[in-house]
């Protein structure tokens, strides 16, 4: 695994406009960065990332199985009590999932370690599934990359196939796509998924999360006052379960993508739970709940809120001293503690691997770089190749 400088495609910004990639630059900073790329060997991809992702995913499912059956654990995961049944039933019914992204620490050797699992609302999907794929094709065609260069990225293909499977259960339903207002990135991600679903022959409709309505007979409705029965939402379960309409979730009987049981996986309490169930696993970092910290012998650790997004409210503690902290609006629901395992540095960049799953299958990676030790929402997205 190494980082190489490469000439940018001279017309990529025009190309981005043509394909509707609107968020390559955010808050005045580059987000998509093709001034360099990462190169992996096939063995690094298959042995160090793909296989562990598969295994970690299965371990995560074992955690869900255990947590939904145990009220004390549901409490530790900060699932509101009135929704325990709803979430348990979603798991027992085998509600299908679409996708997830695991964040891994990996620098080219040794075991990749799980940082966290974005199993509910992962973004950077379009950049991964399509945009970096196009980048590779363009760069190979321009003679700037070896013809044999490949990429670990079958995301788009797998997502379309997954939608085709999901359609079997919903032959006549319209699939609604939803995200919050005022975010180009989320809207772009959802549009991409809608395009994939359309390619799978599904009839799609879009509605903003804030516009979802509630009917007199306790159905969720769209802006034409039609019932919503099947919906993809790029909006976290941990928010939804605490909002006004959560009261009617059971009655409204929507098939959600991602399904309600994902509330267990996208939750940082997953990490100490994994460590308890699979202690010493080579792809896990020792992790603990707050009340276990004293006996944990952790010296260097990262404190993470149970619910948080984009690197907010995280602090790093080395030998009893806080050496870094990010602010943010999270942390009310408590924290977990994870052994400190710094991101590998390539030059003055810290690099994080996002390893994707579609259904239960590993499906590719995204690479993000940050000048900061904690990857935040302004980190840059870098393409990669296998050679």
């Amino acid at each position: 695994m190494f980082r190489s400088i490469i000439k940018q495609r001279p017309n990529w910004r025009e190309s981005a406009a043509e394909y509707g990639f609107t968020f390559h630059t955010m808050h005045g900073e580059a987000y998509w960065d093709e001034s360099a790329y990462y190169q992996f060997s096939l063995q690094q991809i298959e042995r160090d990332i793909e296989a562990p992702t598969q295994e970690l995913h299965q371990m995560c499912l074992r955690v869900v199985e255990k947590v939904v059956a145990d009220q004390q654990l549901m409490q530790r995961f900060q699932i509101p009590e009135q929704h325990w049944n709803y979430i348990r039933n979603s798991w027992l019914a085998g509600d299908p999932s679409l996708y997830a992204r695991m964040d891994l620490v990996y620098g080219g050797s040794g075991h990749a370690k799980l940082y966290e699992n974005n199993a509910d609302t992962p973004t950077s999907l379009y950049e991964t599934g399509f945009w970096q794929w196009l980048w590779l094709q363009d760069q190979v065609n321009a003679g700037r990359l070896n013809r044999r260069a490949d990429q670990y990225n079958s995301l788009q293909e797998k997502i379309i196939n997954r939608f085709a499977q999901l359609k079997i259960e919903h032959p006549r339903d319209t699939l609604y796509f939803s995200c919050c207002k005022d975010t180009d990135e989320d809207r772009g991600t959802v549009q991409y998924l809608e395009d994939c679903a359309t390619a799978a022959g599904i009839e799609c409709k879009f509605i903003y999360v804030e516009d979802i309505g509630l009917s007199a007979d306790d159905c969720f409705t769209d802006l034409d006052n039609l019932k919503i029965s099947w919906m993809f939402k790029l909006y976290p379960w941990e928010f939804m379960l605490r909002e006004e309409y959560s009261e009617v979730l059971e009655h409204a009987a929507v098939s959600w993508i991602e399904p309600p049981w994902k509330a267990i996986l996208s939750n940082k309490a997953l990490l100490p739970m994994l460590w308890k169930m699979f202690p010493g696993h080579p792809n896990l970092l020792p992790s603990f709940f707050e009340d276990e910290l004293e006996n944990s012998q952790l010296v260097n650790y990262v404190k993470k809120p149970i619910f948080a997004r984009e690197g907010a409210n995280i602090s790093i503690h080395l030998a009893g001293k806080e050496v870094y902290s990010s602010d943010g609006p999270y942390g009310d629901e408590g924290y977990i503690y994870q052994a400190y395992s710094p991101l590998p540095a390539f030059g003055d960049n810290f690099t994080l691997i996002g390893s994707w799953l579609v259904g239960d299958q590993p499906a590719g990676i995204s690479v993000r770089e940050d000048k900061n030790k904690v990857t935040q929402d302004l980190s840059r997205y870098m393409p990669h190749i296998i050679l």
């Binding site: 609302t121 293909e157 989320d186 395009d195 039609l226 909006y235 909002e243 602010d327 609006p329």
Partner: protein, 203 residues
Amino acid sequence: MKRTQSIDLRVMRKAPKLFAFRPLALAVTAGTLIGCSDDTQEAQVYKSVEDCISGNPGETQQCEIAYQQAEQEAIKSGPKYNNLAACVEDFGAHNCQSFPVQNNQSIFMPLMAGYMFGSMMNGGYRSAPLYPSYPRRPPAYGKWTSTDGNLFGSANSNKVRVNDKAFKAKPTVRRTMSRGGFGSTIAAKSSFGGRTSRSSWGG
């Protein structure tokens, strides 16, 4: 190969977006059903059962059944409003009526002003409700419209060309009591640090 084998780039290109403003309950999709494909048929439009009978002597029973079916379909899939003013805005004064629902409340729906009446291959008839156009809004002005907002020919005409879809039962339209019961968390979180724009609620 570890990557997607092929992607149809034509599909991935995004044409410049056209934004359509949709009225509350009706989407105007003029032209989609009118005479542009071969599977259209001519349907009669009648404003009343008597109107139908005089056009189809001897078919009294069919005309009555068709009317009742259209009326039931109108109640199920027609637009529903929480107040009279909203209904009047879309359909005009005197074209709205109230229906009592539970707790002494009422909803408002446009009056069915006519119905389409078409023959089927097997010799039977079928029907679908029609409303007067919205009063002030072109291109709907002076046209017949269906429960889901499709526009047909002039409301002065008693014949329209439609395809099969026009007679299909439409999805049940609900009465929406409120909106905004999801999404409240972000209002609290996004004010953090005075950031006015944000990138993602995913991660």
